[in-house]
Structure formats: structure tokens, C-alpha cells
């Protein structure tokens, strides 16, 4: 996780003119993806999340000011074109990195990593509880919907939405009551207001070395790019 963060940071600091630096970064990332045996389709499907940013990036050359140039007979801004490249390359690499992290690391390990990186435990605890109970709540909602449908409820118009709102309220109350019961269960096992440190595996030096390779490559590229640019 520290490695992923380091890699993204290094990529973000790489000057945009250093096209070759990004190429090396991308190659290194691809190599890791191959090593981790994450299927390409899986990565591509999740990469669609950056489409809104890409769309915005593609508009920049047409609206940015500055020196104009012709690309395929259309006048665009040179500055804007570089801006587009900048966003595309960095967002693409950044998003790919986080997808890779999410694909290869399980949720508990990510949460544990966040705690180790000194993210406030209250926040990681909230995230952990959210992940634990989100599925449960979604399932409850689904069952309530089925129960409504079973009794002939088929909402088509806005004025039929009242039962949905009511069920959302009921769901809220149910979740709140569950919260109370979970708290009781925690108290019953000696919870005294702070999460105790649970034994969890931490990364060894070999893992640090393996994970560190990627950000090191990116950092080297960032430095090289800066040197060449000046």
C-alpha cells in the first residue's frame, strides 16, 4: 500500500514532457500486473471509472488558450494538448495502480495497512464496519422489496414511491438497532472504548523490497524527467 502510494506520487511529480518516463512507468506497471496474473479484462472494466476525467481532458485542447496548432485540420491549443496528455497519463497510471492494489490485496489487509500508515483508527473502524454490514443492509433492502412485490406493489409513478421511503426509514431503524446489538456484543467481550491491537501479519523486508521496486522505478523516472527538463 505504501508502495502504491509512492508510485502514484512519483508519477504525479514526473514532468509531462518526459513522455519516455511515463512509458517506462507504464511498462513496469504492466509487468507487475502480468506477475500478479490479474486478467486484462478485469483491469479494463474497472478502468472505465476514469472515463469522466478523460472526457474532460479531451475537451481541454479546444477550450484552452495559448499557442494554436493544427491537428488533422482542427485548431487546438498546444498548452491544452499537453494538459490532456498530462491528465491521461497520470490518471491512467494512478487508477491502474489502485485497481491493481484492490485486485491483489484483500479488504482486511488494506484496512490493516491503512491503520499501520497512521490513518486514525476510528476511520478505519468505520470503514471496516461499513464493509461488514453493507452487504447485510443491501440484502435486507432486497428482501423488503421482494416482500412488497409479493403483495402486489409495482411502482411506476412518483406518487407510488411512498412505501419505498417508508422502507428506507424502517431500514434505518433496523440498522440503528443492529448497531446497538453489535455494541452490546462488543461490550460482552470486554470492549472498553478502543480497538485492541489484534495480531496481524506485517510485511517482511523481502515484501518491502518486492513492493518497493515499482515506486523506485517511478521515482527514478521522475528524477530523470526533471533533470532532462531543466
Amino acid at each position: 500500500m505504501a508502495a502504491a502510494f509512492g508510485f502514484v506520487l512519483a508519477v504525479a511529480l514526473t514532468p509531462r514532457q518526459a513522455v519516455w518516463a511515463f512509458a517506462v512507468d507504464a511498462a513496469a506497471l504492466l509487468a507487475v500486473i502480468r506477475l500478479a496474473r490479474v486478467p486484462a479484462r478485469f483491469m479494463l472494466a474497472r478502468l472505465t471509472i476514469i472515463v469522466p476525467f478523460v472526457t474532460f481532458a479531451l475537451v481541454i485542447p479546444f477550450i484552452a488558450s495559448g499557442e494554436q496548432m493544427d491537428v488533422l485540420g482542427v485548431g487546438v491549443s498546444r498548452e491544452g494538448l499537453w494538459g490532456t496528455w498530462n491528465i491521461l497519463a497520470k490518471a491512467g497510471l494512478g487508477a491502474t495502480t489502485s485497481i491493481l492494489l484492490a485486485a491483489t490485496t484483500e479488504v482486511p489487509a488494506i484496512l490493516h495497512g491503512l491503520t499501520r500508515l497512521r490513518v486514525p483508527p476510528t476511520l478505519t473502524m468505520i470503514a471496516a464496519f461499513m464493509i461488514r454490514y453493507l452487504e447485510l443492509i443491501a440484502d435486507q433492502l432486497r428482501r423488503m422489496r421482494i416482500a412488497m412485490t409479493a403483495r402486489g406493489y409495482d411502482p411506476r409513478w412518483l406518487w407510488q414511491a411512498r412505501p419505498i421511503a417508508a422502507s428506507a426509514g424502517a431500514l434505518f431503524i433496523r440498522s440503528y438497532e443492529r448497531g446497538e446489538r453489535v455494541h452490546a456484543a462488543m461490550l460482552a467481550r470486554g470492549y472498553a472504548g478502543a480497538m485492541p491491537p489484534l495480531n496481524q501479519r506485517t510485511a517482511g523486508s523481502r515484501e518491502w523490497l518486492a513492493a518497493g521496486a515499482l515506486p523506485l522505478v517511478a521515482a527514478a523516472m521522475a528524477v530523470a524527467g526533471l533533470v532532462v527538463a531543466t
Partner: protein, 253 residues
């Protein structure tokens, strides 16, 4: 040991909304006894269970676990001595993995490092769930969830185990596994249930709680043989089930 495992004296409790759930409960459970706590819905069984662990504070009366009377100063130790297994495993299991969940209780007691690992392993083995350690609780089957819930309570090495409706929602195989696990545990057990055949199978003694007080207390076979009593308190035996004959063939373990 001169003190019984559990001694409850004249316990009363009223919910904040004014509903009186317990109206003077008296109950004494000896060490190593396995007692079935029977009663209709809303009788106060779960409320009583939550008192044993100091989750609820009684209006009057006292709860004593071994030599300790439940009070603010003894709360932590009483919670260690009494392992509570909730009816809904989704309430009991709140951590992202089974291992972390089982470790939660002993870690609160101050266990760390290898000692904590050993305690987690020991508890999971006791319920036959050693292979589930890395799983997420919401991906377990009903029976697995129930056994892991049990492990989270056992990890505290309690003197008294209190289970709220342990058989509810289990399929016959899951129920059988649970019976085997509970039978193998050599600690005092208080099993809250509607499942009368489960009570007869495991418990030598049965207590009926109804309307917030104890209305019957005796050998399970005798309590279940009193049809009038069962009917009054909204309990009924499974169809074709005769506790007198079953009891002779299979005396309470």
C-alpha cells in the same frame, strides 16, 4: 468451591419505555451444570441473559458469578467469566475476518502476540472451525457462523457460557454439529431455547421463564412431561415426541 457458578437474586428490570421485563428472578446454577432456559417469546429470557454480562443494569436484585457480585468494579472480570453468544450471528461477528473476530475478546483482555494467536487457534479448534480463520463472517453458512460465534465467546475462556437461541435457523446437520460441540465443552452452560428436544438432549435441568419470573425449575424430563405447564407458557413438544420414553433411552449427558 463454595459459590455456585451463577446466583441471581430477586432481579427486576424495566425497559426505558416502561415495559417491565423481569419481575424478581431467582436462579442458582451449579458448576458444570447445563441448564435449558425455556419460555415463550417476550418472557424475558434474552433480557436475563444480558444481565448476566452486565450489559443491562438491574433495577434491583443482584447477579453473582462465582465469588464475584456484578458491580461497576467487577464488570470487566464478570464479562470475562460469562461468555455470551447472541441469537443473531451477524450481531456477534462484526470484524472483517473470523480470526480478527475471535481475537477481539482476548485482545481486550490484554493478550498479545503468540499468546493471542494460540488462544484464537484453540477456540476455533474447540468448535471445529480451524479452517475458517481467514474467511469473512458474511460468507459463512448458518451453521459455520453459529460455531464461530461460539468460538468468539470461548476465546475469553469463560466459566459460564450463555447461548441465546443457539439452534434457531440451523439445518439438521448444523444443529447436530452444534449439539456435539456444546456437549464437548466442560463448562457451565445456560442455553436459551424454544427447542424442547434440544433442551432434553443436552440439559439435565430445565427452567421455564414466563412473564419475567421463573415459573418452573426441575429435571428436564419432568418439566417437559407436564403438558399443562407447557401449554400455559406457550411451549409445546414436537409432534409425536414423548419425553418420558426418550429420557429413559437417552439420559441427559
Amino acid at each position: 468451591m463454595t459459590h455456585p457458578a451463577v446466583e441471581i437474586r430477586d432481579l427486576t428490570f424495566t425497559y426505558p419505555d416502561g415495559r417491565q421485563a423481569l419481575r424478581g428472578v431467582n436462579l442458582r446454577v451449579e458448576h458444570g451444570q447445563r441448564v435449558a432456559l425455556l419460555g415463550p417469546n417476550g418472557a424475558g429470557k434474552t433480557t436475563l441473559a444480558l444481565h448476566l454480562n452486565g450489559i443491562y443494569t438491574a433495577d434491583s436484585g443482584s447477579v453473582q458469578i462465582g465469588d464475584l457480585i456484578l458491580a461497576d468494579t467487577s464488570l470487566a472480570e464478570v464479562r470475562r467469566r460469562v461468555g455470551l453468544v447472541f441469537q443473531d450471528a451477524d450481531d456477534q461477528l462484526f470484524m472483517p475476518t473470523v480470526r480478527a473476530d475471535v481475537a477481539f475478546g482476548p485482545a481486550n483482555l490484554g493478550l498479545r502476540g503468540g499468546e493471542l494467536d494460540a488462544r484464537v487457534a484453540e477456540s476455533l479448534v474447540a468448535v471445529g472451525a480451524a479452517d475458517l480463520a481467514e474467511r469473512a463472517p458474511h460468507h459463512l453458512s448458518g451453521g459455520e457462523r453459529r460455531r464461530v460465534s461460539l468460538a468468539t465467546a470461548l476465546a475469553m475462556r469463560p466459566d459460564v457460557l450463555v447461548c441465546d437461541e443457539p439452534t434457531s435457523g440451523l439445518d439438521p446437520a448444523g444443529r447436530r454439529e452444534l449439539v456435539a460441540v456444546l456437549r464437548g465443552l466442560a463448562i457451565t452452560q445456560l442455553l436459551i431455547t424454544h427447542d424442547l428436544s434440544f433442551a432434553l438432549e443436552l440439559c439435565e435441568r430445565a427452567v421455564i421463564v414466563s412473564g419475567g419470573t421463573v415459573v418452573a425449575d426441575g429435571a428436564t424430563a419432568d418439566v417437559l412431561a407436564d403438558e399443562q405447564l407447557l401449554e400455559t407458557h406457550r411451549l409445546s413438544l414436537p409432534y409425536g415426541f414423548n419425553p418420558a420414553t426418550v429420557g429413559k433411552r437417552n439420559p441427559g449427558a
